[in-house]
C-alpha cells in the first residue's frame, strides 16, 4: 500500500525534476541556437573572402593557375616578394589565434609558412589550414618574404611564405603510427640523455620498419638512400670507365653454388631450385667466354639464420671479375682504384647527404688514402702480436681481431679503408690460387672498411685439373662442383675478382650501427614484410 502510495508522488517529483531539467535544457538549447544563429549571421555578414582559395582537391582535379611549381630548396631571399606555387608535405602546423604557422617539407628541405587573417584570407581559411592533417600533401600559393631573425627550425632559414591559397592534394590519416619529428630526432649518447630537456621520444627499429613508408620520409633516410644510389652509380661509372662490361646473372640456379650450405630452396615446377648465393660462377664463366672484365649488380640470397647487425638474407651484391696478364695485383689495384674513386665521389658529390645523415646519427667522416693502403697478412699478424694478441701465422682473423686490427691501422695510418693481401691458404676456399712463391700463403685479399670485412676476393684457379686436385684436398664432393670445374675445360685466362654488399658498404661508409638502416625494405630471418 505504502509503496503504491509513494509512486505517484515520486512520479510527480520526478516529473518536477524533469520539468526543471527540461526547462534548463531548453534554455541551453535556445542559447546554443541563439549563438549558432548569431554565428550564422556573422558568417553571412562576414562573407568568406577566401572562397575558391582553399579546399580539398578531388584526385581528378588540379590547381588552376599558370604559375610553375618551385622547389623548397630554391626558396632564397632572391625570390623576395615574388608569388610562388609549391607542392609539399605539411610537416607541422600550429594555430595561434588568427594565424597559423606551418612547415612545408620537400624531402630534406623545409620552409616555414604563415597563414594569417587579412584582407584576402578569411578566418575560415585559417581554420581550414590549421585542421589539415600532418603529412598531407598540399599545394600552396604564397608570397616569399624575408625574415629578420633566422628560422632555426627549417632548412630555408632566411625566408618564409605568406600563404595566399592552400589546397589539399592528398590527405593523410589523422592518426599516424609514428611522427616524422620523432623518427628524425637526433640519436644521442645515453649520457647526454638526462641533460636534454623536453621530449625524447624514440621510435624503435621495428616500428620504423613496420611503417617504412613514413620512416623513409625522414631527412636521414632520404639521404641514406640517395647515397646508396650514388654508390651503385659510381660503382657502375668507375668500372665502365675502366672497360668493364655489365652482365646479368641468373638468380634461380639448379645446383647450389659455393659448397651448398646456406641456400634457399624454392619449388621449381616439379622439382626444386635454389636462389643464387653469389654470382661468382657466372662471372667466371663470362671471363672464360672472353668478356675480359665484367661486373654485375644484383640480388644475392643467403639462408643464414643469424640476427646480427650486419646480416641480411637478401642484399644487393656488387661483384666484379677481371682477367689479368702478369699478376693478380693488376686486379687488386683496379679494385683499390674503384674504391678510392667511389669514396672520393661520395665525399665530393654527396657532402649534403652525409651532413643530413650526420644530423640524426653520429657520423664520423670516412677517411681513406689514395692510393689505398695495402698491407700483407704477415704484417697484420705482427701488428696484432705487438698489441698482445696471440695468433698463429696461419690463423684466420677472428671478428674481434679484425676490429682491433682496424683500430690499429686507423691509429697508425689514419685510414678507415685498407686491403689485406696474401691470406694463408689454409683459411681460404678451395678455388683460391696458392701463392707460387710460398705455398703457405695464397693470392687472396680482403678489403676492410672501419675494421669490418666488406670484400673477400682472390685469384681463382683457372685450370680444371688443378681445381679438381685442390677440391679433393679440401674433401669436397667432386660431383657437386662438376659444373664449376667443367667451365674451365675449354681454356680460361687467369683471373681474379671479388664482391661487396651494397648495404654493408653504405652502412660502414656512414658508420651506422645496423644494416637494416641502409636497406630500404630489409629481409632478415624474422622479417618478410613490408
Amino acid at each position: 500500500m505504502g509503496v503504491e502510495n509513494i509512486q505517484p508522488e515520486d512520479q510527480q517529483a520526478k516529473s518536477k525534476k524533469q520539468q526543471k531539467k527540461e526547462a534548463k535544457d531548453a534554455v541551453k538549447a535556445a542559447k546554443k541556437e541563439e549563438r549558432k544563429s548569431a554565428a550564422d549571421v556573422s558568417v553571412v555578414e562576414e562573407k568568406d573572402v577566401s572562397t575558391g582559395k582553399y579546399g580539398n582537391l578531388s584526385f581528378t582535379e588540379c590547381v588552376a593557375g599558370l604559375e610553375s611549381y618551385v622547389d623548397v630548396k630554391n626558396l632564397t631571399p632572391e625570390l623576395k616578394d615574388k608569388t610562388v606555387r609549391l607542392r609539399g608535405r605539411l610537416h607541422t602546423s600550429r594555430a595561434k589565434g588568427k594565424q597559423c604557422f606551418l612547415v612545408i617539407r620537400q624531402q630534406f628541405h623545409t620552409v616555414q609558412g604563415l597563414c594569417a587573417v587579412n584582407d584576402s584570407v578569411s578566418k575560415q581559411m585559417v581554420k581550414f589550414v590549421s585542421n589539415i592533417t600532418k603529412e598531407s600533401i598540399v599545394d600552396v600559393l604564397a608570397t616569399v618574404v624575408t625574415v629578420k631573425a633566422k628560422i632555426e627550425s627549417c632548412t630555408q632559414k632566411e625566408v618564409e611564405l605568406h600563404v595566399l591559397e592552400a589546397w589539399v592534394v592528398s590527405a593523410a590519416k589523422s592518426q599516424l603510427p609514428l611522427l616524422i619529428e620523432d623518427a628524425s630526432r637526433p640519436v644521442k649518447d645515453d649520457n647526454d640523455e638526462e641533460e636534454t630537456e623536453g621530449l625524447n621520444i624514440r621510435v624503435s627499429q621495428d616500428t620504423r620498419l613496420d611503417n617504412r613508408v613514413l620512416d623513409l620520409r625522414t631527412p636521414a633516410n632520404q639521404a641514406i638512400f640517395r647515397l646508396e644510389a650514388g654508390v651503385c652509380r659510381l660503382f657502375r661509372d668507375v668500372l665502365t670507365g675502366k672497360g668493364f662490361v655489365e652482365i646479368h646473372t641468373p638468380k634461380i640456379i639448379g645446383a647450389a653454388s659455393e659448397g651448398g650450405a646456406n641456400v634457399f630452396t624454392v619449388s621449381y615446377f616439379k622439382g626444386s631450385a635454389y636462389l643464387a648465393q653469389s654470382p661468382q660462377l657466372y662471372k667466371q664463366m663470362a671471363i672464360a667466354a672472353d668478356f675480359d672484365k665484367v661486373f654485375t649488380v644484383g640480388a644475392v640470397f643467403r639462408a643464414e639464420d643469424s640476427n646480427t647487425h650486419r646480416h641480411l638474407t637478401e642484399f644487393v651484391g656488387l661483384d666484379l671479375e677481371m682477367a689479368f696478364k702478369r699478376d693478380y695485383h693488376e686486379v687488386l689495384d683496379t679494385i683499390c682504384d674503384m674504391f678510392t674513386a667511389l669514396f672520393k665521389g661520395l665525399r665530393d658529390e654527396f657532402a649534403g647527404e652525409i651532413a643530413a645523415v650526420g644530423r640524426q646519427y653520429p657520423v664520423e667522416p670516412f677517411r681513406f688514402l689514395q692510393p689505398a693502403l695495402k698491407l700483407e697478412f704477415p704484417t697484420a699478424v705482427s701488428m696484432l702480436r705487438q698489441a698482445g694478441v696471440e695468433i698463429g701465422d696461419e690463423d684466420d682473423l677472428s671478428t674481434p681481431n679484425e676490429k682491433l686490427l682496424g683500430r690499429l691501422v686507423k691509429a697508425k695510418y689514419d685510414t678507415d679503408f685498407y686491403v689485406l693481401d696474401k691470406f694463408p691458404l689454409a683459411v681460404r676456399p678451395f678455388y683460391t690460387m696458392p701463392d707460387p712463391t710460398n705455398n703457405k700463403y695464397s693470392n687472396s685479399y680482403d678489403v676492410f672498411m672501419r675494421g669490418e670485412e666488406i670484400m673477400s676476393g682472390a685469384q681463382r684457379i683457372h685450370d680444371a685439373e688443378f681445381l679438381t686436385k685442390r677440391a679433393t684436398e679440401h674433401g669436397i664432393d667432386l660431383e657437386k662442383i662438376k659444373a664449376y670445374v667443367d667451365a674451365f675445360r675449354f681454356g680460361c685466362p687467369p683471373h681474379a675478382g671479388g664482391g661487396i654488399g651494397l648495404e654493408r658498404v653504405v652502412m660502414l661508409y656512414l658508420g651506422l650501427d645496423n644494416i637494416r638502416k641502409t636497406s630500404m625494405f630489409p629481409r632478415d630471418p624474422k622479417r618478410l614484410a613490408p
Partner: protein
C-alpha cells in the same frame, strides 16, 4: 626349577636378551680397534719411519744441496756485478763530461750501423704525415745522409682530407723512383701521407707504444740517433747539434721578420767560414734541417755565406734551386 638355583630369591625373567652374534652396521667406515694397539706396536712404527727416512735416495738431498749452492753462487755473482757497477758509476760521477763515451755502454743498442731497424728481421714500418703546404724537404736528403746505412722504401699516399692532389711538389716523386734502384729488401718502409696537418710533419712509429713525433727536426733527430755510429755521439757535439736543430724549428715557426732575422744571424754565425753548419767535413743533419726550412720560406733574407751554402746543399742533395 632349572638346576641348582637357590630358592632364597625370586626368579625373574631376564630384562633383555643379547643376540648370539652382534651385527655391525655396514653403513659406517670400519676402523681399527684402538684399544688393542699395544705400546710396543707403536714403537715399531717409529722404527719403521726412521728406517724409511734413511732409505730415501740420497741424491734428493744432494740435489737440494746443489741447488742451494747454485743459488748462492748466483747471488755472489750478482753482488760482484753490483759492486762493479757501483765502482763505474761513482767514477763517472767524478768526471761526468770527459767520460761520457762510456755512456753508450749502458745503451741497449750495439754499436752497429743500423741498430734498431733490423732487430729480429722485422722491417720497420713508419708513417710520416706531411702537409703539402709545408713539405718536409729533408726527406729528399735522407739518401744523401744515410744512403749507405739505410735502405728505404717509400710509398706515397694522399689522405682524404686533401681534396686536390696537384698541390704537392713534384720533387717528392724522386723518393718513390728511388725504390726501384735498391734491392727488394729494405730496412725501413716509409709511408708518406700528404695530409691536412699543422705546419709540422708527424712521425708515427707505433701508436701503441709511442706518441707521434712532431716536427721535421725531430724526425731528423730520431733518424740520426738511430743511424749514426754510436761512438760519434760526443755529448758536446750532440748538444750543439740539438741547439742548431732547435734553431731551425724556431725559424720555421717564427712569425715576425725581426725574429727570423735574429735566428738567421745566429745560424750564420754557426756556419762561420766553414763549409757546413755543423762544422763537419760532410753535410750533416743540421744542414739538411736548415736547408729544408729555407726551401719552404724562400723570401727569407740570407747572408752571402748562407746563400753560397744553400747552393752547396742543392749540389750535394742533387736538386736544383
Amino acid at each position: 626349577m632349572n638346576g641348582p638355583v637357590p630358592n632364597k630369591m625370586y626368579q625373574i625373567k631376564p630384562v633383555f636378551c643379547l643376540p648370539d652374534s652382534l651385527e655391525i652396521a655396514s653403513n659406517m667406515y670400519k676402523m681399527k680397534n684402538i684399544h688393542n694397539t699395544s705400546f710396543q706396536a707403536s714403537n715399531s712404527v717409529k722404527e719403521e719411519n726412521t728406517v724409511a727416512l734413511e732409505k730415501t735416495p740420497k741424491n734428493e738431498y744432494d740435489d737440494i744441496h746443489k741447488r742451494q749452492k747454485i743459488i748462492l753462487q748466483q747471488l755472489t755473482d750478482l753482488q760482484n756485478q753490483m759492486s762493479l757497477f757501483r765502482n763505474r758509476l761513482s767514477s763517472e760521477k767524478v768526471l761526468p763530461v770527459k767520460n761520457s763515451a762510456s755512456v753508450p755502454d749502458i745503451k741497449p743498442n750495439s754499436p752497429t750501423m743500423k741498430p734498431s731497424f733490423e732487430q729480429g728481421g722485422v722491417i720497420y714500418d713508419i708513417v710520416i704525415n706531411a702537409n703539402p703546404n709545408h713539405p718536409p724537404y729533408s726527406l729528399l736528403a735522407i739518401n744523401t745522409l744515410w744512403g749507405n746505412k739505410l735502405k728505404m722504401r717509400v710509398t706515397t699516399h694522399f689522405h682524404s682530407t686533401i681534396s686536390t692532389i696537384d698541390k704537392v711538389d713534384e720533387l717528392f716523386q724522386v723518393l718513390q723512383d728511388n725504390n726501384n734502384n735498391g734491392c727488394n729488401s729494405s730496412s725501413l718502409n716509409i709511408t708518406l701521407v700528404w695530409k691536412e696537418t699543422g705546419p709540422d710533419c708527424e712521425l708515427i712509429i707505433s701508436p701503441l707504444h709511442h706518441t707521434a713525433i712532431r716536427g721535421e727536426v725531430n724526425l731528423l733527430r730520431y733518424l740520426e740517433r738511430h743511424l749514426s755510429p754510436v761512438d760519434s755521439q760526443d755529448a758536446i757535439a750532440a748538444t750543439r747539434l740539438d741547439s742548431l736543430l732547435d734553431r731551425c724549428h724556431c725559424l720555421r715557426h717564427a712569425t715576425t721578420a725581426k725574429e727570423k732575422k735574429s735566428i738567421v744571424k745566429a745560424l750564420n754565425a754557426a756556419l762561420g767560414k766553414g763549409a757546413w753548419i755543423g762544422g763537419t767535413k760532410e753535410m750533416g743533419v743540421a744542414d739538411v734541417a736548415l736547408w729544408s726550412v729555407l726551401r719552404c720560406d724562400r723570401e727569407l733574407e740570407l747572408t752571402q755565406s748562407l746563400t753560397k751554402w744553400v747552393e752547396r746543399c742543392n749540389g750535394a742533395i742533387g736538386i736544383g734551386a
